[in-house]
């Protein structure tokens, strides 16, 4: 349905669109990082596009992605970018939707922020930063939104240990006190 949006995007920003595709009824455009803001601004302001409704912003961690049934060359490997940041947009006037996907490598997990264009992305980007550690360049207030400041690491990354807790407070008379234990390890 939004194929005409993809066609218009490819016609206007041939240098910025890596590739386009369609999955499960959703049209996806992979955008280069450095051109994201100009593409997004055009998508918002152009009368034929007018994407006025930011749906969500999230991230995909591809670490060790080896699904059964896919040929090995499509599996994730060290030379491929680890993260994909997704912005889902929707137009209430034209009733079409599109997903912008931006790839970011692990050593440089940075993506330009879209919170200037759509203020609703402000908290969504903070959540993505909180869970995945993606830095959003140009974000006005990039802090953790759900977790506490003392938290170390990013819990939704695939290499975060599944049951690793970082307690803020524990009873003194616990048989195994993780806080005291952590302090003991630091002293050693």
């Amino acid at each position: 349905m939004a194929q005409k949006v993809l066609d218009a995007l490819e016609a206007k920003f041939a240098h910025a669109v890596v590739r386009t595709g369609s999955a499960h009824g959703d049209e996806i455009a992979w955008i280069k990082r450095e051109n994201l803001v100009e593409v997004a601004r055009w998508l918002r302001d152009d009368a034929a596009m007018s994407f006025d409704y930011p749906v969500f912003c999230t991230c995909i961690d591809w670490l060790d992605w080896k699904p059964i049934g896919l040929p090995p060359e499509q599996h994730w490997s060290e030379d491929k970018p680890r993260f994909t940041v997704c912005y889902q947009l929707r137009s209430l006037t034209h009733r079409h939707r599109i997903r912008l996907e931006i790839e970011a490598p692990e050593h440089d997990a940075r993506v330009p922020s879209l919170s200037e264009l759509w203020p609703a992305f402000n908290w969504q980007e903070r959540e993505t930063f909180d869970m995945y550690g993606i830095r959003f360049d140009g974000h006005p207030d990039l802090r953790r939104i759900y977790l506490y400041e003392e938290f170390v690491g990013y819990p939704l990354r695939k290499d975060y240990p599944k049951e690793k807790r970082q307690p803020l407070v524990r009873r003194d008379d616990l048989p195994i006190n993780p806080i005291k234990r952590a302090g003991h390890e630091e002293k050693r």
Partner: protein, 179 residues
């Protein structure tokens, strides 16, 4: 537990005979005037409302009045999941309550963390504060909550609550050091 709950009055009297008359009277008063502080964090709250509502009616046991200040309450009901971020708040609420105080962990999340075995949830509220009675269930039936309340009342009468035992221990230590 079932045996304790179905004691005859003679057996009760034998158990209570270990206490002084004043202790017996104060514990009797305490167990029938529990003021609850509902620390409601999650979906178990619906079940708590059902218990407090007229059909199951916690008021029959003298615990009908939820106080929304911890300073005015002596029974802390932890209803729902406790996250690591909530730990300091829960500890502060518990510390603000006046002695003696009792704690009920309502539901499996407050008791053990339930199915949340991950980075954000606490494996049971007893990691932070001492809990007197645990109620399993996701969410527990109202009958289970009433059962737990009766169990707690029995424990209060016998002076076996966590804070009662601690107060007794502190008194013993104080009297021993005076000598």
């Amino acid at each position: 537990m079932a045996v304790e709950l179905t004691t005859t009055r003679l057996e009760d009297a034998a158990k209570w005979a270990k206490q002084s008359k004043l202790e017996r009277a104060t514990n009797w008063g305490r167990k029938f005037s529990l003021f609850t502080y509902p620390f409601v964090t999650a979906c178990c709250g619906m079940e708590f409302m059902s218990v407090a509502g007229p059909k199951y009616d916690l008021a029959r046991f003298g615990a009908e009045f939820p106080r929304f200040s911890p300073r005015q309450s002596d029974l802390l009901m932890i209803v729902g999941t406790i996250t690591e971020k909530q730990g300091p708040a829960l500890k502060r609420v518990f510390d603000q309550m006046a002695e003696p105080k009792w704690v009920i962990a309502f539901g499996v999340c407050a008791s053990t963390g339930g199915f949340y075995q991950n980075y954000h949830s606490m494996p049971g509220a007893d990691q932070v504060i001492p809990v007197d009675v645990y109620i399993p269930g996701c969410p527990p039936r109202p009958e289970q909550v009433l059962d737990a309340l009766i169990l707690l009342m029995d424990r209060i009468q016998n002076g076996r609550g966590h804070s009662q035992l601690r107060m007794k221990r502190e008194q013993l230590i104080a009297s021993a050091t005076e000598e």
